[in-house]
């Protein structure tokens, strides 16, 4: 395809991505090094018969003038990145010196908002991805063992947790585990504690969000593995049987090698998706117990005071995290393309 034709074909798509993905990234980068102007404070001297007192007042006019002159705010460099709400560069040293040990230090570190969000996001990704893949694999084995007539409806039901809107799916679970909901009542009965409330406990909240994550992402793993199981080379399996391979040996040497590339692919997609975990925290109203990086940005952006600079700095750090997570894949894709072209 000629360069010029290629350009015309790709133009609409590339323009959309340039304007609404690439430029916003630049905009986020710029915002993250500017802080809003503080209000200009003026000292006013009030003199009367008893003497003079000085008081401070906000100089509205000067503030407005300053904000209009430099609408971006004042340049602070990496100031926002290193403040207490993000990397907390200044707080880390003292925190280390007052901590009794590494565990104590980590515990205190997690109270800092950015590190807390990072820890939750990484824990969520690290727990949900493998659990969902394992569960999905087991479901695929089960469906594969069903008679054909039952498979369609089974797949239909199995797809539902994944297809349903994340915010809505999480709400449905949340209402059920509410202290007045059916699962909440069941958990209370099992724990023997009628006052047990998931909303009030941080570990239970974390667990609940992860249960939601596994529930909603395992259908994807199931579908991929199910399709993989359909394409297992039957000739190889049968010749292995003739050669006297046991069931376990057939699984070990034929089926699993066939499924490994699928697993890599799936793990990649799921790590990307799980790293963005956001909606369940909104649904579960869990902001007080668990914050993910996305939720952290969202809560900065919402509310009365829109903390744009703070949100921008978190966004930049999140994007850096995404690229870091993806880097092995990017390098490998790049290398394999190099081989293909040579």
């Amino acid at each position: 395809m000629k360069h010029r034709t290629f350009l015309w074909f790709i133009l609409p798509s590339a323009t959309a991505m340039l304007l609404f993905i690439a430029l916003p990234i630049v905009s986020v980068l710029i915002q993250s090094v500017y802080a809003p102007h503080p209000q200009v404070i003026r000292e006013v001297e009030n003199c009367n018969v008893f003497g003079c007192t000085t008081s401070t007042a906000v100089d509205q006019e000067a503030t407005r003038a300053l904000r209009e002159a430099e609408p971006m705010g004042r340049f602070v460099g990496t100031g926002i990145y290193t403040d207490r709400n993000h990397l907390a560069a200044r707080e880390l040293g003292p925190l280390w010196s007052v901590s009794a040990g590494l565990g104590d230090f980590l515990g205190k570190l997690l109270n800092l908002p950015f590190y807390g969000a990072l820890a939750f996001t990484l824990t969520y990704t690290a727990v949900v991805t493998p659990m969902a893949i394992i569960l999905g694999f087991l479901i695929a084995l089960g469906v594969n063992a069903l008679p054909r007539a039952f498979r369609g409806p089974t797949i239909f039901v199995s797809l539902l947790p994944m297809i349903v809107t994340p915010l809505v799916g999480a709400l449905i679970l949340f209402w059920m585990v509410d202290a007045r909901g059916v699962l909440g009542a069941a958990i209370q009965a099992m724990a023997g504690n009628p006052d047990l409330s998931i909303k009030a406990s941080t570990p239970l909240m974390w667990a609940m969000i992860m249960v939601y994550g596994i529930w909603s992402t395992s259908p994807f793993a199931f579908v991929v593995y199910y399709a993989g199981l359909q394409t297992v080379p039957q000739d190889t399996l049968e010749s292995a049987m003739i050669d006297g391979a046991s069931r376990w040996e057939r699984i070990r040497y034929v089926v699993i090698p066939h499924l490994v590339p699928l697993t890599t692919f799936m793990a990649l997609i799921k790590i990307m998706d799980n790293f963005r975990v956001f909606e369940p925290i909104v649904s579960f109203n869990a902001g007080a117990h668990a914050q993910s990086l996305s939720y952290f940005i969202y809560s900065d952006l919402g509310g009365e005071t829109r903390l744009l600079s703070s949100a921008a700095a978190t966004s930049v750090l999140t994007i850096a995290g995404v690229i870091l997570l993806l880097s092995p894949v990017l390098v490998r894709t790049w290398q394999s393309f190099g081989k293909g072209a040579a």
């Binding site: 034709t5 630049v26 449905i172 199910y226 399709a227 049968e238 956001f278 909606e279 996305s294 894709t333």
Partner: protein
């Protein structure tokens, strides 16, 4: 059809797998059935401190409304809280997003599939990185410029933003689909004197529909399910369904409002059920498209 030799399983294994599967089906389906049933009850029954079986039998629903089922939640949400307006907005957004992103995506995906040059590969790689970024990180980049240019709050803004966020995925999917259409097809048309665009128009478009429909389904899901973009970029009167539900939750203090949220959750889920019912095959093939080919 006889079962293949290698498919035979010992009965204990078959039993274990089937039991596990039944368990999973209950876990997957029960929450939906429960919420559907409960959406026709009053709040005191659906959230019952005294006894969970009340959500099934509904004694309070009977005493408060006189019937075993009430449409109070639906009436309140759709008419009183004007959920129909949000539904209409969602319909506009979803239809526009799907149409525009498929148009952009087919053109771009076709070009990427047919270009032998290195920059096509780089574009796909950049698209992969874009695909991995949480949408909410981009939202913080939109807000300031959109406020300044007075673009904030309107449906077209949200539509074009969703189209852009959709593009990386659409491009990947359609590129891999177009690669499976033999090159000879459009190249022979070009030998016969078609321009590249004419070849695309007369030869590729007639055969591309299976791939486009599958990709369209996923674009639909992305636009329909989005919360981050629509919640932050749309004004209150232009809200779509998902942010509207979230706003019900903020005002749950008044009695009965939770049931508004429950009934609107059911209303939002229903179209998705229908979608899966009709397009199950396409969804499954779309999910596995990238995977099975490696």
């Amino acid at each position: 059809m006889t079962t293949r030799l290698a498919d035979r399983r010992p009965p204990t294994l078959q039993f274990a797998l089937t039991t596990f599967l039944v368990l999973w089906l209950v876990v997957a389906a029960f929450p939906f059935l429960w919420t559907l049933w409960g959406s026709f009850k009053v709040e005191g029954d659906f959230f019952s401190k005294a006894d969970w079986t009340r959500a099934l039998t509904g004694p309070l629903t009977r005493s408060e409304t006189g019937g075993a089922f009430t449409f109070g939640g639906y009436h309140g949400a759709w008419l009183q809280e004007e959920f129909w307006r949000a539904a209409l907005n969602t319909a506009i957004v979803v239809v526009c997003v799907v149409c525009i992103s498929l148009t952009f995506g087919t053109l771009g995906g076709y070009a990427l599939a047919r270009s032998p040059y290195r920059y096509a590969f780089w574009l796909l790689l950049v698209a992969l990185v874009f695909r991995a970024m949480p949408p909410v990180t981009l939202v913080s980049g939109y807000l300031l410029p959109f406020y300044q240019w007075n673009l904030w709050g309107h449906l077209p803004t949200a539509i074009i933003v969703l189209v852009a966020i959709n593009q990386p995925f659409t491009l990947w999917m359609l590129t891999s689909f177009f690669r499976n259409i033999p090159k000879d097809l459009d190249e022979s048309a070009m030998v016969d004197g078609c321009s590249r665009f004419q070849a695309f128009r007369h030869v590729i478009i007639p055969v591309m529909w299976p791939g486009v429909i599958t990709t369209g389904l996923f674009s639909f899901l992305l636009a329909y399910n989005d919360f981050a973009v629509t919640a932050m970029l749309l004004s209150k009167e232009n809200q779509t369904m998902i942010p509207k539900i979230a706003s019900f939750l903020g005002t749950t203090q008044t009695k009965g409002n939770v049931m508004f949220a429950v009934s609107s959750v059911v209303s939002v889920t229903a179209p998705l059920f229908v979608l899966v019912m009709f397009f199950q095959r396409q969804i499954v093939s779309g999910l596995t498209a990238g995977a099975v080919k490696g």
